[in-house]
Symmetry: C2
Subunit: 377 residues, 2 copies
Amino acid sequence: MYYHNLKFGIIGGGQLGKMLIQACPDFNLHPSVIDPDEDAPCRPHTHDFVKGNFTDFDTLYQFGKDKNLLTIEIENINVAALEKLEREGVKVFPQPSVIKIIQDKRLQKQFFKKHQIPSSDFVLINSKEEVKHYAHLFPVFQKMGKSGYDGRGVQAIRNVADIDKAFEGESLLEQEIKFQKELSVIVARNMDGEVAVYPVIEMVFHPEQNLVEFLFAPAELNSSIALEAQQLAVQVIEKLGMVGLLAVEMFLTPEGKLLVNEVAPRPHNSGHQTIRANYTSQYEQHLRAILNLPLGSTLQYKPAAMLNLLGEPGYNGIAHYEGIEKAMSITGVFPFLYGKKYTKPFRKMGHITLVEDTVEALKIKANYIKELVKVKA
Amino acid sequence: MYYHNLKFGIIGGGQLGKMLIQACPDFNLHPSVIDPDEDAPCRPHTHDFVKGNFTDFDTLYQFGKDKNLLTIEIENINVAALEKLEREGVKVFPQPSVIKIIQDKRLQKQFFKKHQIPSSDFVLINSKEEVKHYAHLFPVFQKMGKSGYDGRGVQAIRNVADIDKAFEGESLLEQEIKFQKELSVIVARNMDGEVAVYPVIEMVFHPEQNLVEFLFAPAELNSSIALEAQQLAVQVIEKLGMVGLLAVEMFLTPEGKLLVNEVAPRPHNSGHQTIRANYTSQYEQHLRAILNLPLGSTLQYKPAAMLNLLGEPGYNGIAHYEGIEKAMSITGVFPFLYGKKYTKPFRKMGHITLVEDTVEALKIKANYIKELVKVKA
């Protein structure tokens, strides 16, 4: 399995790609990376950075055609190019057929429905015009089929007055779910069909921005719900027949029911803490899966939290990480910076992983560090 | 502290440099690397690899003069160039004055003596001719002042018949120490003088090759000896006034006395397991120290072992890692390959870190994995 000269490419040069690059040398891998941004976080960490638009067929095809193995760190890429590369013998994991389903939220919801994966009710619409026909379902979320990411292409339509701001184009309307917790389960599957699932993670979102602010791992759940969430994640990756790492985001309703929200077929924001807190990091696990190696143990050493370092509102310019040195003087506090020179409000500039002996101490520490560290300019 | 564009250089492109590179992105660092071997393990993992001989004054000076910060992953480098760079304002950690002492085993022993750091008795000699005058000290080890590394430049002279094979040149004769254990303690110190020390590590050497075969962390010692070993390591780094990471190798004599053998002013073979088993890896710790950041916790999650993957005797050629997939299917088994294409007998090709709940289980696992995984061609 250890090809010394395996030609390995990562599509996408953001922070997820950067952390994936950090796991590569242990397996004798040194990936090439393509990203349209010449200041992408990955750039300084690869000997072979290609500036190019991965949504363009030819650009992506040219990047991939001399590779043996390709993977992604973002879904919004040209699948047709990957399909052609796959036909020509390049290994592409996750498979283009899976990316195609996941990158279109409409196909994703239809997939859940077809395979009886519990998820919220939805209707597909083709234009802004149609929204008004579904006023009886309000409040809803409107989600664009494609190009939604990190809160873009998603909005709440709570009442008739909101119809004006609806997106134009193919989208879906999804009933707003009342939930007590938002959860994520990361699961991996290799080519042999071996599956490994991580402990359930609890995500705490920023009240205004649709961005994870904190996460806690493992989630505080009774063990039967935790097990059910893990089984649900396994079910999704097996139904997809996917090879690689899949993050399955779920809602836990007030009645204790689990509903799958969305999935992401790659290392995920909700798995950053695995670098410090688990036997096998999500990045190493993704590599094991796509190389068809035995998957690593997902056991967790200690309770952990992750705190996103988002650009503080009101600051634009060269980033300064206020309070970070003081934070680092505390046991079990690990900053991960993304190599972005400029901060702007709510830009993901890095994260901090926290490890503690008890969940109680962890929560206190997480709140303290959140107040202490601010990304300013 | 987080210079987005800090120009950081690593002198030496081996596996220690490679693992140091892997820790860099978390701190927004993307180092340049110099090494004479164009196939050095670091090469594919940096965007700026300089092929050059770091023992040559001009070559090293040219590499360093546009940098803000330099560190080493090997001691055998041109100190005069580093001294000049330091005078010109480049931060060099460990300091050239410290490297100078450590790279010459004669100066190192004199330093121990001067600062009352317990170490074996020794005499300095200037030629092979002088060896015979010290027959009353036999058995001894003869060590060359410089250029000894991984068993090179070190040999046993057990009796008068061995005198013939003595090295020519400036060296030292050191009385052979009877010991029950060989230990290593890794300690870090930042510019502010903060010191952090890791749990004591026990090294098990290959019976013929002077190479670590196994190590166990923490060492099985009574706690007063463990504490004494840690205090001794702190004493050495403080007497040196060194900034960075220092590995202090020690003998534990049958009488329970600790004697410092040698020190290495950089990440060390005996600290590889810290990547998986400790809160802060030795590589991150080295970066924290030389960036003058607060040092990280050295707490260890679980008992850990490290097994060197040495080229199997009798095999030369493109490396094949027999048994590694089976090993990886076991919980808590993590391979780290060094990116070396060709194996030869006893070449360090990688290592495996093992994590377990108990020391007993760890030993069983370590012996099993050692028999299972072989580097062949």
